[in-house]
């Protein structure tokens, strides 16, 4: 029951969709399964919230590290959630709070990475081998090709960058996509046949 039922559901749903799509049968059924898939995943949206609440409530009870911030986190999360559920995501107050907090915070978090990326670049681009030299040359050409100063130093940087992005980069990434797609096919077949059962680990 614990292992057979999930496998049976996985097999039946996979077989139904495969037969229906391959042989162009019962498009309404496929559409309904699509809808079920989206709706069932939508109902899982609170699972992270339940976990977050559990972890931070325990932290507050134990007076753990930054327990005061745990209170702030729960207050902000539930307060904003309540506001959103009652007023809707397009309400002026809801949008104003989002634009004042999440928008600048998101952009700043990503921009902070530019500081760390510089130190990573120093380590990655130290020319110790032929491979590192290729990485360095390609990186510098693309950097200068995209920056306005590059065109001032040498007008050919723009053309070289376009060549690297269109030819070398695209051909390498195309081959990587081939590998990943073949890997996903094999995984799908293994799941279909029940050789791989990733879902049976849940709840152990």
């Amino acid at each position: 029951m614990k292992k057979t039922l999930p496998f049976a559901l996985a097999f039946v749903s996979a077989l139904t969709i495969t037969i229906c799509v391959f042989f162009d049968l019962a498009p309404a059924l496929v559409e309904e399964i699509d809808k079920w898939f989206i709706l069932s995943t939508a109902f899982v949206c609170c699972i992270g919230l339940v976990n977050l609440t559990k972890v931070h409530t325990r932290n507050i009870q134990r007076r753990g590290r930054d327990w005061d911030l745990s209170i702030v986190l729960l207050a902000i999360t539930f307060g904003y959630l309540l506001l959103g559920v009652v007023t809707g995501p397009t309400a002026p107050l809801y949008a104003w709070i989002f634009d004042s907090t999440a928008v600048p915070l998101g952009a700043t978090f990503y921009s902070v990475l530019s500081f760390y990326i510089v130190s990573a670049a120093y380590r990655a681009f130290r020319v110790k081998s032929r491979d590192a030299a290729i990485l360095l040359i390609s990186g510098i050409i693309v950097l200068l090709g995209n920056a306005p100063i590059g065109e001032v130093i040498y007008p050919g940087f723009g053309t070289a960058t376009k060549w690297i992005m269109d030819i070398a980069n695209t051909s390498a990434m195309r081959a990587v996509i081939f590998g990943a797609t073949i890997g996903s096919f094999i995984t799908a077949i293994r799941v279909f046949l029940g050789i791989d059962r990733p879902y049976t680990a849940t709840g152990e």
Binding site: S13, K35, W36, I76, V103, F115
Partner: protein, 202 residues
């Protein structure tokens, strides 16, 4: 709400995040981080509720009496059993459904895209760039061939060439990432100097 207050709040949160880099891990940074997590988590649930849950429950089930829609709702709710140890295994049932549907879509929807990508990769060899492109694709595919040990000289040459193509690609990707992050940094600095402090002209 006032635009000035919004600018000041945005400026506060921007500086709060930069204190991590300019100073070290501190309470102000962690407060900003907390606000980010709280707002983002709540926003995700609010959007899911208004876009998916509310229309189905209010319109499909209550108004139109489409009671079959209760099945996916029950499937979704089964995931919460993982918080109750004795019945945690029940959460495997929706996982089985999602994995099965996901596997089926990979099998039935991906081949079309995959085959069109293969066709697009093998260009007519009438230009030098086309030749380099095709050689690059084949060389990188050979580089990822791990089934048997590569010993012959032509295969070794192909893997070396494939690795070179990959390195050029990684260098280009790294440079593009640096550029996008620097652009974001400039955007935040521009906001602080122009919109908040008003010491730089647009």
């Amino acid at each position: 709400m006032s635009a000035t207050l919004q600018t000041w709040l945005s400026a506060f949160f921007t500086i709060a995040i930069y204190t991590l880099v300019l100073y070290k891990d501190n309470k102000v940074f962690r407060f900003a981080e907390t606000v980010m997590i709280g707002i983002t988590a709540a926003n995700g649930i609010v959007l899911t509720y208004h876009n998916y849950i509310k229309p189905v429950v209010a319109v499909d089930i209550i108004q139109n009496h489409k009671y079959l829609q209760l099945i996916p709702i029950v499937l979704g709710l089964m995931m919460y059993t993982r918080f109750v140890k004795p019945i945690a295994w029940v959460s495997r049932i929706p996982m089985g459904f999602w994995v099965g549907v996901g596997a089926a879509y990979i099998l039935v929807r991906n081949p079309g895209v995959f085959i069109s990508q293969i066709t697009a990769s093998f260009l007519a060899l009438n230009k030098l760039n086309n030749l380099i492109f095709v050689v690059g694709v084949i060389a990188v595919v050979v580089y990822f061939y791990f089934t048997v040990p590569i010993k012959s000289a032509p295969m070794k040459g192909a893997t070396t060439l494939g690795k070179a193509f990959l390195l050029v690609s990684f260098g280009a990707t790294f440079a593009s990432t640096v550029m996008s992050r620097i652009s974001l940094l400039l955007g935040r600095l521009q906001f602080l100097l122009q919109d908040w402090l008003r010491i730089a002209k647009v």
